[in-house]
Symmetry: C2
DNA sequence: TAAAAATACTCCATAGGTATTTTAT
DNA sequence: ATAAAATACCTATGGAGTATTTTTA
């Protein structure tokens, strides 16, 4: 058994086809085929059921491949430990961020980040929270930025900031008023437009609705925050938008009125998470620090009670 | 990098000497030397400081070696998963047990265990609890039997039984009486003989002493339970012995009187622990079950309140 | 001057390649 | 009939050996 063999079985489990797995490993199909065979012979078990159309792992195969993945993650971290001992700041970090935050947070952070850590390479991935955490746990991501609370097991979390929600209404909506803060209670009996299932913003807005007695606007579920915004502009209903999504450099379409909530405003807590065993464990607090550099008039720094106006 | 290289650096970190590490890996010194060099070149870091008298890991080396160990544990578990898929009961289990229990528990369990699981190979290790847990966590043991509570992180525990303590006194001691149960409170103001530091039996007996106001007999600390027993026989002082240590097939020396405690008797909880990620995770409950087969007149099965007489 | 590690060099096991055959739908 | 996997066979990288030199306490 050697590390290359483990890459082969992991690739084969992934691609379910010897030829494609071989391509992914940059070897020929016979090479991958014989090596997988040899590993099966060495272990004395069949790891894959070969079908002509598709190849898939046996029960033992699944267990073995899960361990093989763990081995490869450890090996990658050995390489990273060695590299980072030369220059910790020259890391390549695979960072995941969820869709209703990423596009609005990154413009505030990336420029200064690039200035402070010029050798840092950030590979950004935008996925829903559930997928981000899955990828973080199995080593496909090095860190994620998500809204707390999360069910964490073996993950280390570092709070970044608290982001208030604001009310977005069609301009001619009664609640639009003249932009003065409005109480959350004013939402009672409103029909609120929400994102589709799986977005954490949907759950966050829903929990606000449950508290004050608002209900979801039936029949429409937006697939992105931008769609949501456009639907409000089209006069369909009101919605909750996170603060970063309504501040410069983001511009708001005509027909949408933004109404801040009176304190205590509904909000969400944003944190960065990584595996305690990550090879970047010592470096990631510096990255988190950079992500805290969002103007305090947009978000609230962690461990700070929102000041009542 | 390949798995053999990782074995080399782990062995070298262990033996702190190229020649001895090479012997341990069954290769020649130049082979190990060149392979370690190549790995250092590949990683671009020095993993070991070479001295003529001794060789030891650099800071990066220590981190790398820790990960290398983790890799090798995972690889061992891949082999074990494959093997156990053929015959789960033919496992070779490295089982640790602490010194004041092992010699008295095993005779009650091994014979029937051997009958029920004839293909099972048990490698028994007797060490103090702290060392057992260290070895369990780093993969040198597959399971341990220790007294709860323990600080567990990622360990799975399965309660085995509750073992009462009995009072052992010199035969001419006032508390010896005629063997009738004696209250724990009777220990107040007694000087109790204890084991040396590091034995969990010492801590267990000490906590009983603290409750009733007994103190440690100064000047003597026994290094084993058998020594303790002999010192009681010699009339030095009283002590607490665990139930299994005073029942057949163990025989007690002349000059020692055994006095049971009245309910509720002081006792200790014995459990088996293993890593949640152990390749034996599915099998070990069967082993635990076997270790519960101790006559109920000696110990109390788990989740059973001791019946008041 | 000894003990330990590094170097020189040789060898061969095996990972990997190409060409081809076998298998299953 | 066709796509996929297995087999045959060849090549060459690199892991492991022995013999020897270099290093340092």
């Amino acid at each position: 058994m050697n590390l290359r063999d483990l890459e082969y079985v992991v690739a084969l489990a992934e691609h379910r086809n010897f030829g494609r797995a071989a391509d992914a490993c940059f070897v020929s199909q016979p090479t991958l085929s014989t090596q997988v065979h040899k590993l099966e012979a060495e272990l004395g078990v069949t790891l894959f059921e070969r079908g002509t159309r598709e190849t898939f792992p046996t029960d033992v195969g699944r267990d073995v491949i899960a361990r093989a993945r763990a081995v490869l993650v450890e090996v990658a971290s050995i390489r990273e430990i060695a590299r980072s001992s030369q220059n910790p700041a020259a890391a390549t970090i695979r960072l995941g961020i969820f869709p209703t935050l990423g596009p609005y947070l990154l413009p505030h952070v990336i420029p200064s980040l690039h200035r402070e850590l010029p050798d840092l390479e950030l590979l950004l991935v935008e996925e829903k929270t559930e997928e981000l955490l899955r990828r973080l746990r199995d080593g496909r991501l090095d860190a994620v930025i998500v809204a707390t609370p999360i069910v964490d097991d073996g993950l280390h979390g570092d709070p970044l900031f608290t982001e208030d929600f604001v009310l977005a209404t069609p301009s001619d909506h009664p609640l639009a008023g003249r932009g003065e803060p409005v109480s959350v209670a004013a939402l009672a009996d409103e029909h609120v437009l929400l994102l589709e299932e799986g977005h954490c913003l949907r759950e966050q807005a829903l929990s606000v609705c449950h508290i004050v007695g608002a209900v979801e606007r039936e029949g429409f579920r937006a697939t992105s925050l931008e769609t949501l915004r456009q639907m409000v502009a089209a006069g369909v209903a009101v919605t909750l938008l996170p603060a970063l999504a309504v501040h410069a450099p983001v511009s708001n379409p005509d027909g949408v009125a933004l109404v801040p909530f009176a304190e205590p405003a509904p909000h969400r807590e944003i944190s960065m998470f990584w595996r305690e065993t990550s090879p970047f464990h010592a470096f990631l607090p510096r990255l988190a620090e950079a992500f805290r550099r969002v103007p305090a008039d947009i978000v609230t720094p962690p461990h700070t009670r929102p000041a009542s106006a």
